[in-house]
């Protein structure tokens, strides 16, 4: 099928196009130089903004823990019901939407690629079943490897190459995309009922420190040539004073960087940029983190922006979730402790009048506004931890308009205003920068060559918004910006128009991307043999039943890389 998008204002940061009026031609799901205007379906985008489809680098949308969250919270769903239509299936929201609703809601906002950031390897099959049932969007998942026993063992012994081979095996059999570390070392320590306090606190029994794990897996990542860097949820997350741990984590891989390329992605930094001794004295540490990132190029981050709403926190960080449960007194689930990681789920309500919550809200925005290079910081809410992903339009309006921030600031705790720099920040991001923060930077960080841009050969994932950059002033018309991003005028996925005027008009399934790491031939056989032996000793499942086989992926999109080991 051929498609021609005419006369739109195109924002394509990867190709350096900033609001130029031009046509975009699509053929067979790819962007091409030109199409036959008479044959092609023409979309008149006059007075509209054309961007690559949105990309979400970190959003918990599938897997055992997400599903446990759905079961834990019937009250989250019953007021947010989506009826079935002739095209779409029924479903429920809100903070933990059902798979179908997740796909539709992302598409309605113009997002076309979403990364699920935490897959316990033992629950990989469940995760992929849910991902396969998430319509429209392309997706991938990061297996949790920072606390896997064999990683800890090999890193203790300093055997990086053997570690790399086993990590490659795991990524391949779980059909994963990147190496995810959550509270490295802390999750294994949680198995002993404790947590690690700093990046130099050794893990019981294994006697390896979080620093060694982070550095080790960072080197493994380079040996394997994975498209994304290591994806790190820091130690001490959600603890006042943890900005120091975050700085330590970034510093500890400083020497591993080459050619100014990033080697580490620190995720939902809002949760690990707390200064202060305790909850009463908590204030923003965003300035110190932004200062560090401004002067170093080996780090990318995402925001983890808080929105004031009733949501559900869920991370693989079991000890942190336990602390949150004790703090909030809410119901909780301690999940996945029997797998290679851990996790916890606690419902949470962020309230504007609460000084801590309001400070958290400020921290996220501060990070995005104080970091000068938009390619280093990305928009996320760590869905659903700091808020559901449907809040992205709201976040965009806060980033683009000081007035929008002031309007929210009127409602928040007075104490919180004094505890962050946000009231003094004037910066307002442009549409071009928003395109970086929500698409281009994410594609670049993830190493997605065919996504996040509109150059010839790219996947035809396109979002068209009802924003005329020549007449609309985002600074004052922030509600219009928010509305435009809530309901994309068109979302095009793989060359098909799937959303028109904010409604899903066509149903299709996106691909599941995974990395097929090729080791040297004898190594591959060696690792396989070793794992077969270990399965008998360690696992509750048989070796043959463990790998995610091809039929678990509705549309499989392998990315083959050749490793150095």
């Amino acid at each position: 099928m051929e498609l021609l998008i005419k006369n739109g204002y195109v924002f394509d940061p990867i190709n350096g196009i900033n609001g130029e009026k031009m046509d975009i031609a699509v053929k067979d799901g790819k962007i091409v130089e030109e199409v036959n205007e008479h044959r092609a379906k023409v979309i008149d985008a006059t007075g509209m903004t054309v961007m690559p489809g949105g990309i979400d680098i970190h959003s918990h949308i599938a897997g055992g823990k997400v599903n446990a969250g759905r079961l834990l919270r019937p009250e989250d769903h019953f007021k947010d019901v989506e009826r079935k239509t002739a095209i779409t299936r029924s479903g429920v929201g809100y903070s933990i939407p059902s798979t179908f609703t997740t796909g539709y809601r992302y598409a309605r906002m113009g997002w076309t690629t979403v990364m699920d950031p935490a897959m316990p390897p033992l629950e990989a099959k469940h995760t992929h079943e849910e991902l396969s049932d998430t319509p429209i969007i392309d997706k991938a998942s990061y297996p949790l490897l920072g606390d896997w026993w064999f990683v800890l063992e090999y890193l203790r012994d300093g055997n990086i190459e053997e570690c790399a081979r086993h990590v490659a095996w795991m990524i391949k059999v779980t059909k994963g995309y990147a190496i995810k570390l959550v509270n490295p070392g802390g999750l294994e320590t949680w198995g002993f009922g404790r947590n690690v306090k700093s990046i130099d606190d050794p893990v019981p029994y294994f006697n390896v420190t979080p620093r060694e794990i982070i550095r080790g897996l960072c080197r493994v990542n380079k040996l394997l040539h994975l498209p994304h860097t290591i994806h790190v949820h820091t130690n001490n997350l959600g603890v006042p004073g943890n900005y120091q741990t975050t700085l330590d984590t970034m510093k500890c891989v400083e020497d591993l960087a080459e050619d100014n390329k990033p080697v580490i992605h620190i995720t939902h930094v809002q949760f690990c940029a707390f200064k202060g001794e305790d909850w009463r004295t908590l204030h923003s540490g965003a300035e110190d983190i932004a200062k560090y990132i401004n002067s170093h190029n080996h780090v990318t981050i995402d925001m983890g922006q808080v929105v004031f709403t009733d949501t559900t926190t869920m991370t693989a960080d079991g000890p942190f979730q336990f602390t949150l449960y004790m703090l909030s007194g809410n119901k909780w689930v301690n999940h996945d402790v029997e797998t290679e990681t851990s996790s916890g789920i606690v419902p949470f309500h962020y309230k504007p009048k609460n000084a801590v919550h309001a400070t958290q809200w400020s921290i996220g925005l501060e990070l995005a506004l104080l970091i000068k290079d938009p390619w280093k910081v990305m928009v996320t809410t760590d869905h659903p931890n700091a808020g559901p992903f449907i809040a992205y339009p709201k976040i965009i309006s806060w980033l683009m308009s000081r007035k929008a921030r002031e309007a929210t600031m009127k409602k928040i705790s007075e104490k919180a205003k004094k505890r962050s720099l946000l009231p003094s920040i004037d910066r307002e991001l442009s549409l071009y920068e928003i395109a970086v923060l929500t698409r281009a930077a994410q594609a670049k960080a993830l190493g997605l060559e065919n996504k996040g841009h509109l150059g010839v050969g790219a996947d035809a994932d396109i979002a068209i918004y009802n924003i005329n950059p020549e007449t609309l002033n985002p600074s004052t018309d922030y509600t219009l910006i928010e509305r435009a991003f809530q309901r994309a005028a068109y979302t095009i996925k793989g060359g098909d128009v799937v959303v028109k005027d904010g409604e899903v008009i066509a149903h299709k399934f996106g691909a599941t991307m995974w990395v097929n790491v090729k080791l040297c031939e004898p190594c591959e056989i060696e690792v396989d043999r070793d794992m077969q032996k270990r399965f008998k000793e360690y696992w509750t499942v048989e070796y043959e039943n463990y790998p995610v086989t091809d039929h678990y992926l509705r549309v499989s999109h392998p990315i083959t890389v050749k490793a150095d080991v």
Binding site: L72, R73, P74, E75, D76, F78, N330, K331
Partner: protein
Amino acid sequence: MIKLVPTREFKVPIFAPCISPTVLQGKTLEEIRQLEVWEGNRKRVLGDLFRVEETETKSDSDDLTLIIEGDVSKVRMIGAGMVSGEIIVKGDVGMHLGEEMEGGKITVYGNVGGWAGSMMKGGLIEIHGNVDDFLAAPYRGQGKGMSGGTIIVYGDVGREAGAYMRKGLIKIYGNADQFVGYAMQGGTIYVQKNSGANTAACMVNGTVIIGGRIDSVLPSFTIDGIKNKVKVDENEVIKAPFYLFIGDLAENGKGKLYVSKENNPHLSYYERFL
């Protein structure tokens, strides 16, 4: 005054939050007949299911009174979210009667389904019949129950009446099943007759008064004394001896559980702890 009479016997559940004075206020009969309801998975209008009549004309400023005559035990969400006005039902009513209502009055001469007065915030519900489970309790999973208003039941109630209650008053002049006042955080529940097992389990605060027999008090409650009278509300003081228990200690609770001394001689062994 508007009267609704079912035109036939309903076989499948009907979802009709529009049957509320707050929604009907100021609408003409024709507009009322066109209001949307769901019968099972079919979309209908109110006029398909009910005969709608105006029995007495009042000026627009007056609060509307709505009379429902007949069996509406399949109809859910009657009076949901109502703010003012009155509903009188002569017959049985379905689930979620007066859910989240904020004001006004509902009177039922018949039996009522589950979740009556669920999460209600204000107003008055009077039921001259029995009520099913989860009276005034919130929807499953939610921790915020009734936060104001009054419910009076002249018959028996099912399980978990007043669960997660925060404020307000529930008077039950019949028997109550298990878990009355489960995880209650405030307010008052009075049960005139007997109460089932696990009364006031997990309560944190508030008052539960049991006038009849109760098989046992949970071990996580501690006896605090014997009171000669108990005040239910401004109009009702029961002058009889009551054991006062404090709990639920498993939740660090300081709720009050009053249990009639006369009707519970088997609890007299608690007196030696005083």
